[in-house]
């Protein structure tokens, strides 16, 4: 009987507070569904069969972790908002004679009801939507095959466990709050935030410093190898800085404005400055979170999309032909032996037309001191920094002419030069103590591809007469062991399946199995394309997935912000009118404040994105992905789409706000 009463009160509470509870339950449900789906993609063996094993499931496992951590943080955040709203009600019950023991029991039933709805609904929704996820993933992978309906019991179990624990913790947390509070404090719960916080200049300045140094790092990292680590440091600094600046900085500045009497005591400033102080202290953490989440969404989607979209270009650069063979020799007889071997292999497979081209080159990584190529290791170690590291690749002129179908000639002290990945700013080059004039810098040349362009640093391709190169090799013995012949085999008639099969019969992406006495290795374009697609496609999907999750969080935070402000503003609205502010002015003032508070995080996120751009662009270069320009357009596009989405969220939630205020 009494038990029935508590359940009844619990259900009533949920129904009465529908405005805050329905979104909360939906969020819990959505988070469970998202967690199930990512868990499904990571745990279900069927995924391997569709997407070819490899990376997909391990990439998704990363997503599982991120989602789990996010779920804990996010549900605690929204729950604290609920508790703030509800404290008053608890106080009332308490004063009306309900003991804390009974309140706790009501809380228990509430939690159980919400947990049950979220878990059951979430897992069901997850199971239904996981099919959609697979279809999206297949679209990204460019796959097209019928799939059945799959359910992962492991993902279900994992979801129930994780969220069971989260709900238990949430329950314990609300118990703690009920037990710690005195009735009068419970009654005032909703108003605790109204106290004006002390201005904390130290944290405000610390915040600015964090932001500034984060930006500085991102804008000035030159060394591509350090970028990844430094970028992480910069990101942490910017996140901390954002919170500090939103929480202390904004209030410090507004209070400074308030102290400036001549400015403050003007009709428009008076109301907006005090209103903003109020709003900022209510929402600073929420706004900072929105800003960070938005930035993450933008960074994730734009960079993973760039990677994904850059796959074709990337593959064409690194693996220019269907079959790329590197032979560690310049000898004619070795070359013919390899060609004979390939002819035999290819004709046995009957793959139609075979196009072949080859060139000799010698390449190594070294330090450039200005325009001087350092050839001995000792000097290299003493003068060099990583920033001066280059790949220097030398090609005999006759090879260049034959490969590109041109008829260049060079004087004895002349070279042709093509740089890749970094500018080469000089018009001469010093090799082996001799200065060579750069007759022309080529925009592109066929040799500027393949492994020589695969490093994180820049490369120069130096084309010189055979005799000149022979001299270099003679005076620098290490070069003699680096002389390679590159073979490009293109099979225009062969299908992707045939190429994959060919690779398997040739023994995979490895050393060529011949009876030559020099080593060689083979790389297939098709299998590498598939590999990249698995990796970058998986990452892109994960970017989209987490983006969706974060956007969901953003919407909810914004929604709660609008509700809590709406209730507060309603009273103020009335009072101001009584004191002599016209309706129109009030509306105008409130509207502009709401807009400002709303779009501040978006603006800041845009800033962060711009600040992060140079660093991320460099990381992407490290991953051999895409040009800066391509990445720039990705960023711009993502931001535009996100801004439109954000505006939509605003328009929808603003409706709730104005409904409350009126």
């Amino acid at each position: 009987m009494r038990k029935g009463l508590y359940i009844k009160i619990a259900l009533q509470n949920i129904r009465k507070n529908a405005k805050v509870y329905v979104p909360y339950i939906l969020t819990c449900l959505g988070t469970v569904a998202m967690y199930y789906m990512i868990g499904f993609l990571s745990y279900h063996e069927g995924i391997d069969q569709i997407f070819g094993g490899g990376y997909v499931r391990s990439i998704m496992l990363m997503g599982v972790w991120v989602t789990a951590i996010f779920a804990v943080l996010f549900l605690f955040y929204t729950n604290s908002f609920l508790m703030k709203r509800r404290k008053k009600e608890f106080g009332l019950y308490n004063i009306l004679g309900m003991e804390k023991k009974h309140l706790s029991r009501v809380m228990l039933y509430e939690t159980v009801v919400i947990a049950a709805i979220s878990l059951v609904g979430g897992v069901l929704a997850g199971i239904l939507l996981s099919k959609l996820m697979i279809l999206v993933l297949m679209k990204i992978f460019n796959l097209n095959q019928p799939i059945g309906f799959m359910v992962s019991t492991r993902a279900i179990g994992s979801s129930l466990q994780l969220f069971g624990v989260i709900f238990l913790l949430l329950f314990l947390n609300s118990l703690r709050q009920i037990h710690l509070a005195k009735p009068i404090e419970l009654l005032r719960g909703g108003e605790v935030g109204e106290k004006e916080p002390k201005t904390n200049w130290i944290t405000a300045i610390l915040g600015l410093l964090c932001l500034g140094s984060g930006y500085y790092i991102s804008l000035t990292i030159e060394n591509p190898l350090m970028t990844l680590m430094l970028f992480f440091v910069a990101a942490v600094l910017v996140i901390m800085g954002t919170y500090l600046v939103f929480i202390s900085g904004s209030i410090a500045i507004l209070k400074l404005l308030r102290r400036w009497k001549r400015f403050y005591y003007k009709t428009s400033h008076f109301i907006s400055v005090s209103g903003m102080i109020y709003r900022m202290r209510q929402n600073a953490a929420g706004l900072a979170s929105i800003c960070i989440l938005s930035t993450m969404v933008l960074v994730m989607i734009s960079s993973t999309f760039s990677l994904y979209a850059g796959i074709e270009k990337n593959v064409a650069q690194r693996y220019p032909a269907d079959i790329n063979i590197t032979l560690h020799s310049w000898q004619e007889e070795d070359q013919s032996a390899l060609e004979a071997h390939m002819d035999a292999v290819l004709s046995a497979q009957q793959l139609g037309e075979v196009q072949m081209e080859k060139y000799r080159h010698v390449g190594f990584s070294t330090i450039l001191d200005g325009n001087t190529v350092i050839m001995d290791e000792e000097t290299m170690n003493s003068v060099g920094t990583l920033d001066d590291l280059w790949t220097v690749d030398m090609i005999p002129l006759e090879e260049h002419n034959a490969l590109n179908g041109v008829q260049e000639t060079l004087a004895e002290n002349e070279v042709l030069l093509c740089s890749y990945g970094r500018e080469y700013p000089y018009d001469s080059i010093v090799i082996d103590g001799k200065t060579y004039q750069v007759q022309a810098q080529l925009q592109t040349t066929k040799e500027a591809s393949g492994e020589a362009t695969a490093s994180a640093w820049g490369a120069i391709f130096v084309i010189a007469n055979q005799e000149v190169i022979d001299q270099w090799i003679a005076s620098y013995p290490l070069l003699a062991s680096q002389t390679d012949t590159i073979f490009h085999y293109n099979l225009p008639d062969a299908s992707a399946q045939q190429l994959t099969a060919l690779e398997e019969t040739m023994g995979g992406d490895a050393l060529l199995n011949t009876n030559l006495n020099v080593s060689s290795y083979v790389e297939f374009q098709e299998s590498n394309r598939t590999g990249l697609r698995e990796m970058y496609g998986g990452l892109f999907f994960l970017g989209l997935f987490l983006g969706l999750l974060f956007i969901m969080a953003t919407i909810l935070i914004i929604y709660y912000k609008q509700i809590s402000e709406g209730y507060d503003d309603r009273e103020r609205f009335e009072i101001m009118q009584k004191v002599g502010l016209s309706r129109k002015d009030i509306k105008h003032s409130i509207h502009s404040q709401v807009l400002m508070v709303f779009f501040l995080p978006l603006l800041m996120a845009g800033c962060h994105l711009a600040g992060a751009f140079p660093a991320i662009a460099r990381i992407l270069v490290l991953l051999q992905a895409v040009s800066d320009r391509m990445f720039f357009y990705c960023n711009l596009g993502c931001f535009a789409v996100f801004a439109v989405l954000y505006l939509l969220i605003y328009l929808i939630t603003a409706k709730v706000y104005y409904k409350i205020v009126q």
Partner: protein, 255 residues
Amino acid sequence: MTILEVKHLKKVYTTRFGGSKVQALTDVNFAVERGEYVAIMGESGSGKTTLLNILAALDKPTGGQVLLDGRDIVGIREREISSFRRDHLGFVFQDFNLLDTFSIQDNIFLPLVLAGKRYDEMQQRLQALAPQLGIMDILKKFPYEVSGGQKQRAAVARALITQPDLVLADEPTGALDSRSSDSLLELFQQINRQGQTVLMVTHSVKAASTAQRVLFIKDGEVYHQLYRGEMSSEELYQRISEALTVMVGAGGRHA
């Protein structure tokens, strides 16, 4: 000299969907002289707040006239109403209506800031007013940091700082304990002696007995009025109690 004249004032509330109608004011007539201190009493639901809202131009009457300084406030255009309210009227409410976004001082300044006054002038006026109201110590504090009585005194300061023709108070002692009420009523008498016209709605016989005149409203009409004349507050208190007993006993249309 008459400062406020209310003629045949009528107010009918229509619920939003045009359903039932509530006649809050039927035919209210009275006048207030400059420098008077008038209390309005009546049962709950008799239309006191409605009357005050109309006098404050917060609401429009269904019929009749309200003349403030000879000017009909019903006819004032929407655009001017706010500034009119600011320049001519001061308000004190039962629940103080201070804004929690402002310090006490800024709450008091609010109408002056809206009127575009200079900061020096605002300070001057406040310095003249604050000692009398006993709020010097709390000017820098925020509403949530002070007591109800202090809040109400701050609200009085806000009403007086514009030097209005008429101060309107709706149950100003309603949320105060008896000591705070007494000091607030003392304050009203004091400012009235300095020439301020005050119109106060109240349920409290004690509060009403500090006024010079008491109007009784019943069924949307002025049912009766009492002048203090030469009476002491105690005598007036007696008379008001008697009048109320008669009024309640007499019943009315609704009885």
